[in-house]
Structure formats: structure tokens, C-alpha cells
Symmetry: C2
Subunit: 215 residues, 2 copies
DNA sequence: CGGCTAATGTACGAACTGGTTCGTTAGTAG
DNA sequence: CTACTAACGAACCAGTTCGTACATTAGCCG
């Protein structure tokens, strides 16, 4: 008698189909960009047909926006899971930097989508109701750490939370976003697993060093 | 009797036409990405016709590669013009960081092209004979500065030139590459002229602080 | 079981897009 | 002046691509 909630118990799938479309679309868009992505190709890599993409999402652009939303949801959740209680300011900011670095290097698709979205001047991001507002939790976290650091006299007092976040993000994003051009030009793959621990320590060293220098 | 060199004195333009095509193409590709760029649109924004694009460049891809090559030539020249004689190691690396930051923020088109090229896994960059090899002069410059810093005991001794270049580039590229998503999500335009001097000082502070911390 | 709707598949079309064909004109060499 | 070639233009073509019209099936409700 396991009663299904009112609607949505129709078992010719629906939810699963939508999820599958989103998965495939994420890969396709991240791989080829918005203009380069092919709706037919996404459909082909799905169990279902192109018809369903239009049935559930309405069109290429709306599908892309949903993909973006789901991707951003990922980091936002990761950010909310960060816990720095019990760490001193320097340890806390280093921890956050390392987690950010880890998350970015492990989610190349997301970084690629962000790059793509920037090429399009974030016009789709702006169209998304879920994303355009949605304040980001990291900033509050960083603000808190910076405040503690200042109180204890171990951090410079002119450091701004958003700026520090940008500094950390820069170094965490770069190896992923520019992996191929950088790799080709300097003969060094910035995502080489063997170098990863090194870069991870480097982000931490960098932010902490910056925050410790006098204002 | 001003004799023109053997050929190429034909004055129904040619060189000028090619340059114009390249200029327009640079904007179009940077604006819409490789797949999003339209050959017809490039032609329309030119004094000439699409026929000429194929006449001079062979096709969309070859044109794009030429655009890339010209864009990269820009920074390479800027890099070669950097002069740090007479500066102490910290001053030298700060100067380089600031110039890199200036150059990147002033050449958004180039940064966008690099982003686009990374989406395509640098496949076109690899196809370019001019670019694929062409060692980059900055690395040597940085190596020299780091060596001096180590000798004088003012820099950590485990800093690598390519890594330091990546650190500087990260922070210089980010505001341009992620201007729109970052701006939308954090309500702060990272390229706002009013914040520029601040970020410029920040890159310098960051690298110098990093290099000064003990290994 | 009959009917109703959500879910799905097939085939198609209109517009676009990279690339080409064919022909023309400007300038120069002889 | 004539012949020749580099430079150029207009129209066109074939393949693609987003989107849709139409038909169909699965499952549920009464």
C-alpha cells in the first residue's frame, strides 16, 4: 500500500528522463560551448528523443539555463558544508582555500560552464531566477575569518572578503580553465596529479602570506 | 621611380583588406566564440565580401588560427619590453605582476580568445606552427628574479618560475575572464575602474608576500 | 473495460551557414 | 594598347540545426 504522492507516480519515467537529459546536456554544453552544443547530439546520447527535450525544457536555451543552475547548486552546497570551527584564522582561511581548490579541480565541467557563460556575458545567468539572487555563503564565512584575524592582530586590516574570495578562486580556477593553453605553451599540465598537492599547498601559502603582510 | 619590391605593389589593397578582415574577425570570435562566430557576419562588417575571407585565409578555422596568432603576438611583445634592471627582487617581481595585470585588463579580447581556445582544448593553438613552439620570455625573466631573490636570502627557495607566473596570471586573468558571472553573483564588477588600482596593488602584495614566506 | 491524459516517437520543414562557382574589374608588364 | 593576373563580387549550393506537427502508447480512474 505504499501510496505514491498525488501526482507524479506515472511510471513511464518523466523525472528520470529529465535527469538523464540534464546529465547529458551538462557534458555536451561543457564540452562544446553553448553555440557548439547540438540538441540532436544531446538527444542521441539519451535514451529518449529530441522531442522530450522540447517537451520538458522548452528549448536549447532553457535547457542550458537549467544545466547552469544545477552546476551552481553544486558549489553552493559544498560551500555550505565547509566547517572551520576550532581553527585559528590562518588555519581557517587555508582550509577554505584548499577546499575551494579541491572542488574546482574536481569539477572541470562546472568551470568550463562558467567560462562559457562569461563568453556570453552571463546573459543566461541573469535570466535564471534561482541564480541571479541567491547570495553566496562563502563571503560570510570569509568575513568572519577575516574579522577574527584582525581582532587577534594576525591579519592585515584592509582585506576585503570578496577580494580574498576572488584571490582564492583565481588560483583555484586557473589550472582548470586554462589547462590546455597553459599546458601547450609552457609544456606543463597544471592539472597533473603529481603537481596537485604542491598547488594545493601553494594556494594556502599565498592567501595566508598575503593576509599576514602589514596593511 | 620609387621602385616597389618585386611583387605586392598591386594597389587594389590586399594587405589592408587582410588586416581589416583580421580586425573584424578578432572581435567576432572574441565576442561569440568559435562556433558562435559567423563568417557571413565577419564579411558583412568588412568593406569586402565573404569570398575574400576564403581567398586570403582559406576558411573559418584558418582565419581563427591567424586571429589567435596575432593576439598572442601582442603579449609576447609586451613581455619582451619588460625591464626590471635597477629593481631589487621584490620590486622587480611586483613590477612584472603589475604590468601583467595592466596588460590583461586592457586586452579583454585576448583573454576571451584564450578562454574560447581552452574550451576547444587548445586544438587550434596546437595546429599553429608559429605558436605551438615559441618559448615564452617571461619565464626566463622570472627565473632571473627568483634566483637573485634567493641569493639575497629574501625569497623562499622552493619557488618555481612557471608556478609564480601562473600565480600572477591567475589573478590578472580572473577579473577579465570571469567579469560577468562574478559581477552578477557578487554584485561587484571586478573591472570597475575605481577598483583597478586596488587590485593592481593586490597582485603585487600577493606575490611578494608569497615569495617572502619561508619555504 | 473504456476513456482520458501524461509521456513518447517519427518525420519533416524552414532558416541558417560554411564554402564554392562563375564571372568581373583593376592595374601592370611588355 | 593588349594581354595577363591579382583582387574582388554576387549568387548559389549542400549540409546542418533548431524546432514542430502529427501520430502513438502507457498507465490510471471511474
Amino acid at each position: 500500500m505504499s501510496d505514491q504522492p498525488p501526482k507524479n507516480s506515472r511510471l513511464r519515467d518523466a523525472v528520470r528522463t529529465q535527469a538523464e537529459i540534464l546529465d547529458v546536456a551538462t557534458r555536451e554544453f561543457a564540452e562544446r560551448g553553448y553555440a557548439g552544443a547540438r540538441v540532436d547530439e544531446i538527444a542521441a546520447l539519451t535514451r529518449t528523443t529530441k522531442r522530450m527535450i522540447y517537451y520538458y525544457f522548452g528549448g536549447k536555451e532553457q535547457l542550458y539555463i537549467k544545466v547552469l543552475e544545477r552546476a551552481y547548486t553544486g558549489i553552493r552546497e559544498a560551500e555550505q558544508a565547509v566547517d572551520v570551527t576550532g581553527l585559528d584564522p590562518a588555519g581557517a582561511i587555508r582550509h577554505l582555500a584548499e577546499l575551494t581548490f579541491d572542488h574546482h579541480t574536481e569539477h572541470a565541467d562546472f568551470i568550463r560552464l562558467v567560462s562559457i557563460e562569461n563568453i556570453h556575458r552571463a546573459e543566461h545567468l541573469a535570466k535564471s531566477e534561482t541564480l541571479a539572487k541567491a547570495g553566496t555563503p562563502v563571503i560570510d564565512l570569509i568575513s568572519g575569518i577575516l574579522a577574527r584575524g584582525r581582532e587577534q592582530g594576525v591579519f592585515r586590516d584592509d582585506a576585503d572578503a570578496v577580494d580574498v574570495h576572488m584571490m582564492i578562486s583565481s588560483f583555484a580556477v586557473f589550472p582548470v580553465a586554462n589547462q590546455h593553453t597553459f599546458g601547450t605553451l609552457f609544456g606543463r599540465d597544471p592539472l597533473d596529479p603529481g603537481r596537485r598537492a604542491h598547488y594545493r599547498r601553494m594556494v594556502g601559502d599565498m592567501v595566508v602570506a598575503y593576509l599576514r603582510t602589514g596593511s
